[in-house]
Every structure is written in C-alpha cells, then in structure tokens.
C-alpha cells in the first residue's frame, strides 16, 4: 500500500481544499455580520463621512469663481506684474464680456468669494456691471476697455484689486488654510502674514490649545480622587456618588452653562458670598465670567465626567490587594501609590485625557456663552463664518485644521501609550 502525503495543499476528507472549504463555511457568518452592521455603516457614511468629505473639499475648492470668469483669469495669468502697472487690455475686455453676459446669480456668488479676497470688490463690480449693461444696451463698442473701466470707477486703476485675483485664479486653492493661519498671498502669489489688525486666528488657536490643556489638567486633578473614591467605596455609597457624577451629564448643557453665569458673574452668587463674608469689598467684585477664567471653570466642570468615567472603569478592576502587597513588600503608602497604583491607571488617565482634550479643543457653546471677548475658542470662529459671513471655505479650512490636529494627537498618543491601552469602560 502506498501512502501519498500532499505537502502542497491540505484537503478536507471530501477532497476539497481546506482553505476553500473554510471560506465557504465562514461566508454565511461573515455575510450575517456584515448585514448586521450595514445600517450603521450606511448611517455613518451618509451623516458623517460624506459631510466631512464635502467640507474638506470646500476648504480647497475655488471652482465656482473660475467658472464665472474663465477667460479673465486665463488672460490675467499672462500679466507681467514687473513690466506693467495694470493688467493688459485683454483682461479688461474679457471681464467686460463676462460681466455683461454672465448669469446674475453665479456672478453674485462669485462676488462674495471676491470680497473675502479683498473687501470692496462687491460694490465695485456691482456698480461697474450696471454701467457695462448700459453700454451694451446702447450697442457701443468701447475703444479701450481699460479706459472704460477706469472711467466707470477709478479703483479699476488700483493694482491692489488686481493683485487679489492671484488667490482665485486656480480651481484648487490653499488660500483658506493660509487665511486660517493669519496668512495670505501677496501680488506674486507668495505667502505673507496678514495685516496686523486682521490677525486673529493664530491667537485663537493658541488660546484654544492653552484652554484645552488646562481643562484636561484640571479635570485630571479633580477627577482622579473622585474616581478613586468611586472605585473603592462600598457599593451603596459609590452608587450615590455615581449619581452625583452623572447628574450634570443628564442636565442640559445650556442649563449648566447659564448656571455658571449665575454663579460667577459680578453680581452672582460667589461674589455675593465673598462680599457678605467681607473677603472682598463691594467695589472689588472679581470678574470671573466673560473671560478666559469663566471658560476654564465652566468647561472643566462640564467635561469632568469624561475624565472620571474612564478612570473609574480602570480603577475598579485594580485589585485592592495590590496596594496591600506593595506595603507588605515594604513600600510606604505614597511609594506604593506611585509605583504600583498610578502606573496601572495610565490607560484610564490617557483615555480620559484624550477624550477631554479632543472635546475641549472643538468646544463651542460654553466658551461662546461664558467666554466673553477673550475666552472665545476656535469653534466660535467656525460658527461665525458658517452663519454670519457664509465663508464656508474658511470654515472648512478651520475645521480641517482642527481635524488634522486631532489626528496628529491620536497618532502621537498611539505612538506613546498605544491605542490598545485605552480603556473607556
């Protein structure tokens, strides 16, 4: 009898290749698992991935204006700024016809975009448009389009208006990102700092960082003992304490924020008590709200549960015997805490820290309400441009940077702590 051993491929008893058979057997399960998550997947794609993708595209998109003034921009690129003070005649001519024949709504949209590049464009073009239409109606053909333009409004002879075209002449533009970092393009298309009075984003970014870091640290300092207590108290006390931790969670964010205004304002509860106790005089009431301090206090309180809960979930499973064992081995309680307990809470600290930081960096309502002028965070600018100036490109760029920062932090965190170490519950 001869025995053949196949080294190439394992077969099942029926002679089908083992891998193929396994795949077939697992296919049903895989399909079922996929069908179970499919609604959620669809939901996430429609409500999360697509809008974010759309916003990120908007942050670099400049195609609308390019579809309104294609010829003008094409001619504009031929302008040698070193040789001529103003653009060549062809540019004026193209603009003349594109304004005369263009779709009114599209031009309106483009004007808004032009106004971001330089304020004043909107009214200049509107006035010019009217005049151009009169000229076209009369059936005259201007001898010099340039002179006609300058005759309509002297600003057409001002090269700074023309320079601002620089940031719009391409379908894709990085200008919004530079704007979000207080930078713009000069006449040669190089990146330069904005005028001093227009620089506000870098300052806000730095403040956003500072506030987020402080809030994270305060949350850790306040949350750690609470989480420890929660994890170690007998059940009936810890349940009560847990309700105290979660109660603010269940209260509306607006209610909590306005409650802080009531507490902290100059005629508020805390100032009232301090005056009544004689700690401060009636004139010396402390300004605790509508500034950065107000933002810090309110955000710390609101984000505290996000620190306590992951910490608690980690601390709960650290056996009590570990502290005992450390002391039994000769470590004083402080040493036992530092060497044995604290290292084991790192997954909780990092999870809570990351959670609080990421939430804080994009926080909007609370800083908006209690922050006043110098407690506003970057979220406020995003909302401002989204609702008031309708500069969605800048909005998207600010959001894109925020997203980028979070991804960088996530990456750093994964490098340093390891993402499998995270423990949320």
């Amino acid at each position: 009898m001869e025995v053949t051993i196949s080294t190439a491929e394992l077969l099942t008893t029926d002679g089908i290749p083992l891998k193929q058979s396994l795949r077939k057997a697992e296919r049903r399960n895989k399909l079922r698992a996929f069908l179970l998550v499919f609604p959620l997947l669809l939901f996430i794609i429609v409500t999360f991935v697509m809008p974010i993708g759309d916003m990120l595209l908007r942050s670099v998109d400049d195609s609308q204006i390019n579809s309104v003034f294609p010829n003008t921009f094409e001619e504009y690129k031929n302008w040698d700024k070193g040789a001529d003070e103003l653009p060549p005649e062809e540019v004026y001519k193209s603009l003349f016809f594109e304004l005369a024949n263009g779709d009114k709504r599209q031009i309106g949209k483009a004007l808004t975009r032009m106004n971001y590049a330089k304020s004043g464009w909107k009214s200049l073009i509107k006035k010019t448009s009217r005049e151009i239409k009169k000229i076209v109606k009369k059936g005259e053909e201007p001898v010099s389009y340039k002179d006609t333009f300058i005759k309509i409004n002297k600003f057409w002879g001002d090269p700074t208006y023309w320079y601002s075209f620089n940031q719009m002449v391409n379908d894709r533009s990085s200008i919004y990102y530079w704007n979000a970092l207080d930078r713009t393009f000069d006449e040669d298309g190089d990146v330069v700092l904005q005028d001093e009075k227009r620089r506000m984003y870098i300052k806000t970014w730095l403040r956003t960082f500072k506030v987020s870091v402080y809030v994270t640290i305060f949350c850790l300092i306040l949350g750690f003992p609470v989480a420890h207590l929660l994890a170690n108290l007998p059940l009936r006390y810890s349940n009560l304490l847990m309700i105290f931790v979660l109660l603010p969670f269940w209260t509306s964010l607006l209610v909590r924020t306005t409650a802080w205004i009531v507490m902290l304002q100059q005629n508020g509860v805390i100032n009232g008590i301090l005056v009544w106790l004689g700690v401060i005089s009636d004139d010396g009431r402390i300004q605790m709200v509508y500034n950065e301090a107000g933002t810090l206090i309110a955000m710390t309180q609101i984000l505290l549960p996000f620190m306590i809960l992951p910490l608690y979930s980690v601390m709960r499973v650290i056996p009590k015997s570990h502290m005992r064992a450390a002391q039994n081995l000769g470590a004083k309680p402080a040493m036992a805490f530092w060497r044995v307990y604290l290292p084991q809470t790192i997954p909780g600290i990092s999870a809570g820290g990351l959670l609080v930081f990421v939430l804080a960096i994009g926080y909007f309502i609370t800083p908006e309400l209690v922050g006043g002028k110098d407690g506003k965070l970057i979220g406020s600018w995003i909302a401002y441009h989204l609702k008031t100036t309708l500069n969605w490109g800048l909005c998207a760029a600010l959001g894109g940077i925020l997203l980028g920062i979070m991804l960088i932090f996530y990456w750093l965190y994964n490098k340093i702590v390891g993402i499998d170490n995270i423990k949320l519950g």
């Binding site: 056996p319 015997s321 064992a325 450390a326 039994n328 081995l329 309680p333 060497r339 044995v340 084991q344």
Partner: protein, 362 residues
C-alpha cells in the same frame, strides 16, 4: 513549644470585630515557634483570613496584642513589619516584569543594584523560573505566577511568610505539586510560615501544626496525625477527613471510657470518653470509616450489622454506604482484596474497637 519565651509569633487574647456587634475572632491565643509551618484551617467566615490580616498589619485587633519575636507589633505599620505575604490571587503587579516584581521590595529597601540583581536571580532559581525574569505576569501560567508570588514574598528575606489560600486558583494536579514544592522550600530555608486554607488535605500535607478555626475560635491546634486520629470535638472530627457519626446518650462512665446507648434503641456502644462528662449527657460518636471491620467480631461487644445501600468502586478500595443503627450515611471502606462479594441490599456484619470510637459533644 508552648513556652512563651520561645514562641516567635504569639497571639494573646485577640478579639476582632468589624461592626461592634459580631466577633469575627474570639479570644485567640496562639503560639508559633520559629521555623514552624502552621496552617489555619477552617470553613469560609471562620476568622482565619482575618487573623492572618491582623498579623500582616492590614487589620487592627479590637482587643489583645500580637507579638513578633517578643515585641508587640500592633502599632507597627505593615510596611515596617518585614513579613512576606503570598496573596490569594498573587497580587503580582501587572505593569512590571517578573524581575521588576521581585526587585520592588529590594528597591524600596535601597539595596544596591548588583545585590538586587543577584538576589532576584537566586529567588527565581529557587522557584525554577530562572529564565522568566523578563516576562510579564500575564504571560505566565497560573502555576508560574504562583511561584513568582512565592519568590517575591521570600526575596527580601522576611522574618515570617504568610500565605492566604495561595493555591486556591490552581487545578488539582498543579495544586498538589505546588504543595510539595512549598513544603520543600520551607524545609530548605527553614522560614516560619503561617498558611491559611480551607482545604484539609492541603493542610495535612504541608503543616507541622494545624489550627482548626470555626466561628472565630480555634477548635483544636495540633499536629496533622493527632488532629485526624484524635479530634477533640465533633467539628474537628467532621471537618478533617471522613467521619461516621452515631448519636446517643451516655449511660455509664468508666475512667477514660464510657458506654453510650444509641438513639432509637439500636443498642449500646463502648467508646472513649473525650468530650462528655457525666451520665445522661447527649453525645455524638465518631468513627473513622477505615476503622470499621467487616465480618469480624470484637471482644468489645461493639458488634453491629448494616444493610448495603450503595457500593462505589474506586479501584484500590470499594466504598460502601450502609444503613447502620438508623444512620444511612454510614461509610465503610473495603480494601480491594478480591474477596468482597456482597451486593447492594445485603446485610453486613460490622465491628470496631472501642478505642476507635470517640464520644464527642453534640
């Protein structure tokens, strides 16, 4: 050994209560000599772990004093007691490697780096885990973790080692193997060990002496053989080993022996008088299964008969459950010598020596 001047660990009139209403440990007096292996054995809730925790310094005695090496230690915090301890679930620090776990007690004692390295290696070699220093506890099997915990409790050369049910989480084979290993390590380095368990075979295997706890009181403190062969009360008789009981009333007392009339009119039994004092007292008779003879008669007139209720074949012996004098849980172990040919339902002749029957409290 009971001489106070010689005892290394001494519990003196220890009471312990957690809530001020229930005493968990009542009037505990216990002396442990240097180098001894003493086991506290008892069911859960009997106060044995509490006693151990008081010795380790994690619980304070409500009354009384514990002496270690003739010095009172109630006021000394646990980290200054120099007592090693093996915890129930080992309490190995999961974020440290095995070697770091072992170095920890040496580092906090500010021992020099080279010395630490040497001692750690020696301790690991002792438990035969010399090459496992760089692993993390989670990468070890239960038995290996157990050995690391043991090595860590010994590495800083404590005056005394406490073990709180250290083998409870292991499977049966490993548990037996570890029992011998712990016993051998104890024999080799001669350290004093106080061991807590609820497993009587573990206690019998390892200990020099065993303190049987029940209800916060030490019921009997003795060597394993005396505890098994001469239990002083019915709790110890029942808790250690297998035990047949017959209830009755003392009818006659004659020096160290007595005669007991069994309840239900099954006759009279001659027994050793252990825990009864006078005629008319109720008593529980205790007979070990292996001391009951089949098909023989004794001159002590302790001759009875029983109906076989159940036969269980166990290889080296046959375990017979009989109905004897109204007790249908009466166990007899029949050695498998090939001559036993009774069936369930048969009547057996039983007999035992009066020295093997102990009249205990009820």
């Amino acid at each position: 050994m009971n001489d106070t001047s010689q005892s290394f660990v001494k519990f003196e009139k220890i009471d312990k209560s957690y809530d001020g209403e229930v005493l968990v440990v009542k009037n505990l007096n216990l002396d442990i000599a240097k180098g001894e292996f003493v086991t506290m054995l008892g069911p859960s809730g009997s106060g044995k772990t509490t006693t151990l925790m008081m010795l380790a310094g994690f619980e304070t005695p409500t009354n009384g004093e514990i002496f270690l090496d003739t010095k009172p230690i109630s006021k000394i915090p646990p980290y200054e007691r120099e007592i090693g301890m093996v915890f129930q679930n080992y309490a190995l620090f999961p974020h440290m490697t095995v070697a770091e776990n072992l170095s920890f007690p040496l580092e906090v004692r500010k021992i020099s780096k080279p010395d630490i390295k040497e001692k750690v290696q020696k301790a690991l070699d002792m438990v035969e885990l010399g090459n496992f220093g760089t692993r993390f506890p989670a990468q070890l099997s239960g038995g290996q973790q157990q050995r690391v915990a043991l090595a860590r409790a010994l590495v800083f050369e404590p005056r005394l080692v406490l073990m709180d049910e250290p083998l409870g989480a292991l499977d049966k084979n490993l548990r037996e193997q570890m029992q011998y290993e712990i016993k051998h390590i104890h024999d080799r380095i001669g350290i004093t060990v106080v061991y807590v368990t609820h497993d009587q075979s573990e206690a019998l295997t390892m200990s020099n002496r065993i303190a049987v706890f029940n209800d916060g009181v030490v019921q009997q403190l003795s060597t394993p053989d005396i505890l098994y062969e001469k239990p002083e009360n019915s709790f110890v008789a029942k808790f250690i080993g297998e035990n047949n009981t017959l209830n009755g009333v003392v009818r006659e007392v004659n020096g160290s022996s007595c005669t007991v009339e069994l309840d239900g009119g099954f006759g009279m039994v001659k027994a050793l008088k252990i825990n009864v004092n006078e005629v008319g007292e109720k008593t529980q008779l205790s007979i070990r299964p292996e001391r009951v003879s089949i098909d023989k008669t004794t001159s002590d007139s302790n001759n009875f008969s029983g109906k076989i209720e159940e036969l269980i074949y166990l290889g080296d012996h046959i375990r017979a459950r009989l109905d004897v004098c109204g007790n249908n849980e009466f166990i007899v172990k029949v050695p498998n010598e090939g001559s036993f040919n009774h069936k369930e339902g048969d009547e057996l002749k039983l007999s035992w020596n009066s020295e093997d029957v102990r009249a205990l409290d009820l």
